[in-house]
């Protein structure tokens, strides 16, 4: 921006998407959304939007029930079981954050309280082996009780202070269970860093749930019931009051809505759900270990709720599926390198294809392919053979003729590539119009190089890098989440 000192340039016109739409309430926003667009994809989206929540739930359950019949046990455990667990956790958090608008960063502690309660009451720790029909209500009550206490003490705290107190409550919980480990009845209460191992399997009236399949279906039932309960809660008087509280606590209070009681109720509701999930989780793990309730788990649960969109029940399911499956899919133990490659390139090509008008993506992709061959030819002609003699991990050797893949170590070549990519992305995003299109070509090529040279060999790290990038990207493009309603600012 060029300017004379003292007189700043007028700010840029915000684009239509970014501008806060003053005076538009949520109903108008929703109807506007329905009105737009054509084409088969849009029809499908409309069908989805117009079908009532219970029908969506039915569709989900019908699909989810078939999963165990076409996956192997490992995939069922990793993709099925944990998706459902995250969905259940997301549903609980959705009440606190999505419905009532309370920023609860200690949610994961309630999850932990559930797990540890189960561990104390159904293991050899103190020789108590109560069945699940007794421990689950107790665990939920314990978590809810802590929720009440926290809710009472935090009811005076506004906005961010609530977030801070709850965040540190979560931290304190991790340190208490993992480090402090006070001695009770001659034994460390929480087992310290080792946690409490060897828990009983979930046992209901003598019927044990041990196999992955049994646990999966049990969780499916739990999730279904939870979603149903939330659906009705959301439709009820309390649900409407929560939403009022979320939109404007002050106005809600003026309307004689009992704000404090509703806050505590939301807290307790979320805590109880988290407690329930905790018991199931502990039983799946067969152990309660404090590091499992750390901030990174909290972030994943938040990501689940946010991706789908705050306050949307269906959104939680979408979020759980996308987040859990993406994260796990990228892990190295998931042995499908070719599929990973195709998914990675496919996603990029898809994103590029969204550019308008139609010839831009074609030009960019064609340019990238040509650019790659030129660079490869130059490198091959000017440097030692070892610079281009590498092969991509797992097959696809034709790629080696396009991408520069060195063998052996070439100093910090990989690191320069990666830093170069980050810089290139930043530059591309700052440019406009055709310049951006031109900058896209080397950026895309660099992306391919980084993927082939670094990321394919570090699946676990890659998963977290892409997870972080996805969170940033999603928030910038669609802060309300995939299925959330555009947030409307009322002045």
């Amino acid at each position: 921006m060029s300017e004379t000192p003292g007189i700043p340039a007028p700010p840029e016109e915000p684009s239509e998407e970014q501008a806060s739409r003053i005076g538009v309430d949520s109903w108008v926003a929703e109807t506007e959304r329905h009105g737009r667009g054509r084409g088969p994809l849009w029809q499908l989206a409309r069908l989805w939007e117009y079908s009532p929540d219970p029908v969506k739930l039915l569709a989900f359950v019908a699909l989810a029930s078939t999963v165990p019949f076409w996956t192997n046990e490992g995939d069922l455990f990793v993709f099925g079981l944990f998706t459902l667990l995250y969905a259940a956790l997301g549903l609980g958090l959705n009440v606190v954050v999505g419905f009532a608008g309370l920023l609860d960063l200690g949610y994961v502690a309630f999850f932990g309280i559930g797990a540890y309660t189960y561990a104390e009451l159904s293991s050899s720790q103190y020789g108590i082996h109560w069945p699940a029909e007794a421990t689950i209500p107790i665990a939920m009550a314990a978590a809810a009780l802590v929720g009440v206490v926290l809710g009472f003490s935090a009811r005076r705290l506004l906005g961010d202070y609530l977030a801070i107190v709850t965040l540190f409550l979560g931290q304190a919980f991790v340190f208490f269970t993992g480090v402090a480990n006070p001695t009770v009845a001659g034994k460390g209460l929480t087992g310290g860093a080792n946690g409490i191992p060897q828990l009983d399997p979930l046992t209901f009236f003598g019927y044990q749930l041990t196999s992955t399949k049994q646990l999966y279906f049990f969780l499916l039932i739990v999730v279904t019931l939870l979603a149903t309960a939330l659906y009705f809660a959301n439709q009820s008087r309390t649900g409407r009051a929560w939403r009022a509280l979320r939109e404007d606590p002050l106005a809600a209070e003026v309307m004689s809505i009992p704000v404090n009681r509703l806050k505590i109720l939301a807290f307790v509701f979320g805590a109880a759900v988290a407690g329930l999930c905790g018991t199931i989780y502990a039983a799946i793990e067969t152990a309660a270990v404090s590091t499992n309730f750390s901030v990174s788990v909290l972030i994943i649960i938040y990501a689940v709720v946010i991706l789908g969109g705050f306050g949307s029940i269906a959104g939680v399911f979408v979020g759980a599926i996308v987040i859990n499956c993406t994260l796990e899919f990228l892990e190295p133990q998931n042995d499908h390198p070719e599929v990973k490659r195709w998914l990675f390139y496919g996603t990029i090509v898809l994103l590029i294809a969204l550019l308008k008008p139609w010839f831009r993506p074609v030009l960019v992709l064609a340019g990238t392919i040509a650019f790659g061959f030129v660079v490869h030819a130059i490198v091959a002609a000017t440097t030692a053979a070892s610079w281009t003699s590498g092969v991509p991990v797992s097959g696809a050797s034709w790629l080696a003729r396009w991408a520069v893949i060195p063998t052996g170590s070439h100093g910090n070549f990989n690191n320069y590539l990666y830093i170069g990519l980050v810089v290139a992305v930043v530059c591309t995003a700052s440019l406009k119009g055709w310049w951006r299109m031109i900058a896209l070509v080397p950026t895309l090529y660099l992306t391919a190089l980084v993927w082939e040279n670094m990321l394919t060999q570090n699946g676990g790290i890659t998963a977290f890098i892409l997870f972080g990038a996805m969170l940033i990207g999603l928030m910038t493009v669609r802060p309300q989440g995939l299925l959330g309603t555009a947030r409307v600012e009322i002045v």
Binding site: P54, S65, F82, K213, F217, T291, V297
Partner: protein, 406 residues
């Protein structure tokens, strides 16, 4: 109208879930099928390597993975070795979260390509995943799990599940603890010892062991704790009782030990540091005059030397037992394949693991590998290595090299 649809749909959903649950409960589990499937020895077979690729101790994981890759290359280079092996990584995030270890176990178990497992890295991980491995007829061979209870114990202990389904290429904590306590008391002749653990299972176990041993000989022992995320030890250093002669730091993280050494000396402390196998990393823990108990690695062997040369001079000794583990697995696969005439199963391989014997040159550990068939000595049990498998005591020299002193 909407409400009625809603109620109907919800009832439908719940019913569907319950029906599916009953159906699912009766269907047969599939892991057994993978476990029993026959393995074609003509093709390359895959060994799963479970180690922490991410998380706070990713450094150690990197050591293990680098050595596992070295083992794979060494095995495949020799024309006599058949079948050829490939490795598949699993990220268990040790000290991060256990669900990762469980997820790795489940995915390895269901992956029909995987015929044997190296790792996981932590005893807790093994304990939590034992039943998964067992159901899939896999016997992990770990290069860093030292908890005694995994190989020796009575009913109700982890030992029940791991019997025949767990082996390790490291000596265990019991042996190490006794060695260290004896060395401090008998050889160094010191009796004021501060023991600092890093709060995770490996460290607390070893600390308790050494503390008990030292108390038996009437040494004066004080304790403190740090966490694996600590980088500032000044308050811990400030609170070391005056007159302390030796500080025992059985930590997983050699860099922390080096940091502790640096900060201790910056604070003017003169106590002798004594580390464990986790801190046995030449090139990282280089505190002059400190001691470590570690695997008796043959630093003069060409394999170790060439590894160090290609890794910036750092032999990354923490990963060497993982090398051994891969070789043990590969040898077991070879034996099973020979016996099965080109075909074998996971179960056959698992049963061949305890029969594997490696020479000192093959194992790189400084002693030959031979697994015990029954309990031996005070601490060892089936799954442990017998014979001369023990920890050595090293003193760190001024130039950072390790000299064997006991």
């Amino acid at each position: 109208m909407l409400k009625r649809i809603g109620a109907l749909a919800v009832t439908g959903a719940v019913t569907a879930a319950i029906v599916a649950a009953t159906l699912g409960g009766t269907a047969s589990a599939r892991n057994n099928a993978v476990a029993a499937a026959s393995i074609n020895c003509k093709k390359t077979v895959t060994i799963g390597v479970a180690y922490p690729q991410t998380g706070p101790v990713a450094t150690l994981g990197a050591n293990q993975w680098n050595w596992a890759k070295t083992a794979m290359k060494a095995w495949n280079k020799n024309k006599k070795n058949k079948p050829k092996i490939a490795l598949l990584q699993g990220d268990t995030q040790l000290a991060g979260t256990t669900p990762q270890a469980l997820q790795v176990a489940h995915q390895f178990a269901s992956n029909s390509k995987i015929v044997a497992v190296t790792g996981p890295a932590g005893s807790q991980e093994m304990q939590d995943t034992a039943s998964v491995w067992k159901s899939a007829s896999l016997a992990p061979v770990s290069g860093s799990e030292t908890r005694v209870a995994l190989t020796r114990g009575t009913t109700g202990t982890p030992r029940e599940t791991t019997k025949g389904y767990f082996f390790r290429t490291v000596p265990n904590d019991g042996q190490q603890g006794d060695n260290v306590a004896a060395y401090i008391h008998n050889t160094l002749k010191k009796n004021k010892v501060e023991i600092i653990d890093d709060e995770e299972a490996y460290s607390t176990g070893l600390s308790a062991q050494v503390q008990a041993d030292l108390l038996k000989v009437n040494a004066h022992v004080t304790t403190n704790h740090v966490s694996q995320q600590d980088t500032d030890f000044s308050s811990v250093i400030d609170s070391i009782p005056s007159g302390t002669q030796v500080i025992y730091i059985p930590w997983q993280n050699a860099t922390q030990a080096q940091q502790f050494y640096t900060q201790l000396h910056a604070h003017g402390g003169k106590e002798i540091l004594f580390g464990s196998d986790g801190t046995d990393v030449p090139g990282t823990f280089t505190g002059n005059g400190s001691y470590v108990s570690g695997f008796p690695v043959d630093f003069s062997s060409t394999a170790v030397k060439s590894f160090a040369a290609s890794h910036g001079g750092d032999p990354e000794t923490f990963g060497i037992p993982s090398y051994t583990s891969v070789i043990v697995n590969a040898t077991a696969i070879k034996t099973a394949c020979k016996a099965g005439k080109g075909k074998t199963t996971r179960n056959a391989i698992r049963k061949d693991v305890p029969k594997v014997q490696l020479t000192t040159a093959q194992s790189l550990l400084g002693f030959p590998v031979k697994f015990l068939a029954k309990n031996a000595g005070k601490w060892q049990g089936p799954g442990d290595m017998g014979g001369t498998a023990a920890f050595g005591i090293y003193q760190i020299q001024a130039n950072g090299s390790y000299k064997r002193v006991g």
